[in-house]
């Protein structure tokens, strides 16, 4: 009998809202919607505090993905889209959020979101996203002062990690832990191209490498590639990581080791950084608008 086809790359989608908060008593309700290349998030804030969010896979249609993410974040809150005072769209689909009042780049939003998530001492934010990777320098307000993005290939990004999870039939959430369970660190695989890395991994498996060892080699390749990006821009303390890969301890541990620097930890979900920053910008914009109206 054929083995059941599992999608090992498929990470869990979820939504959440803070039941201890009542949106009816909030003066300013804002939202940020981050339509990324792989995942979409919607964040709702009450007076600058996190109230609700959702995290799901981006579909082929950006407006549709933004609507779904928003609806899911609103689910169970009794709040409706009309009740939100200002919405900022971000991410690669930022101009395709039909209900947004404004679009701002995810680079600015990750810096602003990271500033709230990790505190105002953070100066370097590494956003490890679905299909690209950004090294961002920012000031104490979370305003970007410089940035660098990876070019050309998804190697070193979430999508690359998904490809590896599927290839090795390892649930993506387990990749990090498993990759650390090796006696000796193997040399990294190719870090310039996901397809090359994948064919290299296939031949390593054929040579008798364990799955864990191959995962270790890929996580190391990803970490080395990103360190190159960070070194080009010049890492300043404090350092933090946002995006999905921040949840992969296999990459983060190796990254910290290569960099000789620990990344800050946060109580917030690292994947909502962009949408969180967008919602914070929405708050600043709506407040300015109100002041101007007076």
């Amino acid at each position: 009998m054929a083995e059941e086809k599992k999608e090992f790359w498929r990470w869990k989608e979820y939504n959440w809202h803070d039941e201890t908060k009542d949106w009816k008593s909030a003066e300013t309700i804002t939202a940020g919607v981050d339509v990324g290349s792989v995942s979409s998030q919607a964040v709702i804030m009450l007076d600058g505090e996190l109230y609700a969010y959702s995290n799901m896979r981006t579909g082929s249609d950006s407006p549709d993905s933004s609507r779904k993410a928003m609806d899911w974040a609103l689910e169970g809150t009794g709040l409706t889209l009309e009740g939100i005072h200002f919405i900022v769209g971000t991410g690669y689909g930022r101009v395709n959020v039909p209900f947004a009042n404004r679009a701002i780049t995810e680079i600015a939003c990750h810096a602003r979101g990271g500033n709230m998530m990790y505190g105002n001492t953070v100066r370097t934010i590494l956003d490890m996203g679905g299909q690209d990777c950004k090294a961002i320098l920012c000031d104490e307000r979370g305003k970007v002062s410089n940035f660098l993005m990876n070019d050309k290939c998804a190697a070193g990004t979430g999508r690359g990690m998904e490809v590896f999870a599927d290839l090795l039939a390892v649930p993506i959430e387990d990749v990090g832990e498993l990759s650390l369970d090796v006696e000796e660190e193997p040399p990294p695989v190719s870090s310039t191209c996901v397809v090359f890395a994948k064919s290299e991994a296939t031949s390593l498996l054929r040579d008798g490498w364990s799955k864990k060892r191959v995962l270790a080699a890929y996580c190391l390749a990803m970490a080395s590639r990103v360190v190159g990006l960070l070194e080009r821009i010049g890492v300043q303390k404090d350092f933090a990581i946002t995006g999905g890969i921040a949840k992969n301890t296999g990459v983060v541990t190796r990254l910290e080791r290569e960099l000789g620097l620990k990344a800050l930890q946060s109580k917030y979900d690292t994947q909502i950084a962009g949408a969180l920053g967008a919602a914070l910008f929405a708050k600043a914009l709506v407040e300015k608008k109100r002041k101007q109206a007076v």
């Binding site: 701002i104 780049t105 680079i107 600015a108 690209d132 970007v144 993005m149 910008f281 300015k288």
Partner: protein, 374 residues
Amino acid sequence: MFSKFYEWYEKRHDYARDWLSKNDGEVVGCFCSYAPEELIYAAGCLPMRVLGSHEPQDVTEPHIFGMFCPFCRDVLAQGLKGRYDYMKGIMIAQSCIHLRQSFTSWRNHVPVDYSFYLYMPNKVQTEHARSYYAGELVKFRDSLQKWRGREITDDALRETAELYNENRRLMHEVYDLRKQPNPPISGREAMVMVASSFFVDKKDHNAELKRILPELKSRTPDRECGARLMIVGSENDDTEFIKMVESVGATVVVDDHCTGSRYFWNSTQFNGDIMQDIANRYIDRPPCPTKDWERRDRFPHVLKLAQEFNVDGVITIQQKFCDPHEGDMVPLKEYLNSNDFPTLFLEFDVTVPLGPMRIRVEAFLEIVGEEELF
């Protein structure tokens, strides 16, 4: 207002064919903006710089290694595809090794009656360059005379140099308008204006410039200026890219490209010996990085432009694998940053993927401005 320039830019081959039907001369393809066009023009020919088409192509692989810049491959592709089948002559003023490869491959694989490799010195910073280059120009003049069977007189050269100077002066006038708080001309229009001047008879170009200038001076811009940007770097006539930049809250107000200001910034000074005068003009030009060694004269020139045109930020552009500009990029960035001009580095290919470029440009504009977000 700029429709004629757009027409010339987009239908450059139609213009050239039409010119050939009306004139007893030939079209001479020029590789590199250092080509001393005055000599070609004075020989009764139409000098025409060969630029790419910004279309993906697959015809240059057997001739140019993939790690040569996309511009030089795009240029050669035009020849291999027969787009310049009316062009009987080609010449290069010694340039970077990438473009030299396009020239030699063209000479080998595209039928032409005449070709000339002009030894434009790379070491323009030595005084010997002046006399050396004037000597090389004499060789070029002799060669052109032999090919065309007609004399290129000093008077004809002087007259042509004056015509070219007039073109430079008129384009300067247009550029000066870009210093205004809300310039009446977009960066895209300026780009097409200069690029079209590579293709058409300077008499036609001058006439059109004279026609639009009064109108342009009283033109009310129909758009906000936004952030004032400068673009600097490799060959760049990517009109789609600049259109995108100017659609997200910015105006390109000045440039330092061989397809822009560098082409026309200085004029021929007349001191008696016309060949030496023309040589001096090219030696003294705002330099390309291939010729800007070991002193970097280009950097203070770029800074002066940034200051005079009051720019908020500079986009530094490098054609992928463009070695000369690659060498300049890091020190140029440091130099501009230390003079309080923020920079954004972008790498160009034959076709520029606008989505990934757009996010970089927008994020840069958010760095340059957007204080309202905080």
